[in-house]
């Protein structure tokens, strides 16, 4: 798997290319947590431009990263949610722990990272 993320300052951007299910979260979790730890990440940007499937494993993944970033007063941004994902976010209450932005650049801008 090619690295599905980029780091800009203290922002970590994950571009989802595969459907966000249990299989992907198992592969991704340790990699992402390692980067958060080693690069001093405070802001996570989850970008769904290229694919828009997520099941309840994705919810667990987002909640887990939220807990991990909380001590650093970090934040999770989500971008390019389609209608289907917006519905999942509403049902699961994910909007209370994430901030939706129109684009990755808009999220980076608010997080104060250098574009």
């Amino acid at each position: 798997m090619a690295e599905p993320y980029t780091v800009k300052g203290d922002c970590l951007i994950i571009h989802f290319e595969e459907e966000l299910d249990h299989h992907l979260t198992e592969k991704l979790r340790d990699v992402i947590d390692g980067v958060i730890e080693s690069r001093g990440i405070r802001y996570l940007i989850l970008d769904f431009e290229n694919q828009s499937f997520m099941d309840s494993s994705g919810i667990g993944f987002i909640m887990g990263r939220y807990k991990r970033l909380a001590p650093y007063r970090g934040k999770i941004y989500v971008t390019n949610l389609g209608r289907g994902l917006e519905r999942i976010f509403k049902i699961a209450g994910l909007y209370t722990i994430t901030v939706e932005k129109d684009s990755v650049d808009a999220a980076l801008c608010e997080a104060g990272g250098k574009i």
Partner: protein
């Protein structure tokens, strides 16, 4: 609207996480003839994903096994049955409560059954400790879009 009639398929797959995506693709292809909306397809894929993931993680405790998936189309009603021969569930009602999970340390959200209920029209769960779990879900695919 094309004439639908009836159709059915049955498959077995190993209880490994690679097959979560495979099961979603299979069900999406099978119900394509009902001409579902994108939203309906997504609902069905999500529900199947939850059931298959449950079998892998909870039914077989990630030790592997066989998952059975059967789907039937009768006119515009899709019925999906996903079952395993895993450890089973002692208290099905408890397991179906939103946010209830035995996998909190593994970041399970406890939303699996809730999603199956929300995204399908009807959900039935049959399980007993030591006798596996069977999930039956139905959804009516809209006609005349």
């Amino acid at each position: 609207m094309m004439s639908t009639g009836s159709n059915r398929f049955y498959m077995e797959m190993d209880a490994v996480s690679e097959n979560e995506a495979f099961a979603r693709v299979c069900i999406a292809a099978f119900c394509a003839r009902l001409d579902p909306t994108l939203e309906e397809i997504n609902d069905i894929k999500t529900a199947v994903s939850e059931a298959v993931t449950n079998s892998i993680i909870h039914g077989y405790r990630k030790q592997g096994g066989v998952i059975h998936m059967q789907a039937d189309i009768d006119d515009n009603i899709l019925t999906i049955c996903i079952s395993d021969d895993g450890c089973g569930i002692a208290d099905v009602n408890k397991a179906m409560e939103p946010l209830y999970t035995t996998g909190a340390l593994e970041e399970r959200s406890g939303m699996g059954f809730t999603f199956m209920e929300i995204f399908m029209d009807c959900l039935q769960v049959e399980s007993e400790p030591g006798k596996g779990t069977k999930v039956i879900m139905k959804k009516e695919i809209s006609k005349n879009k």
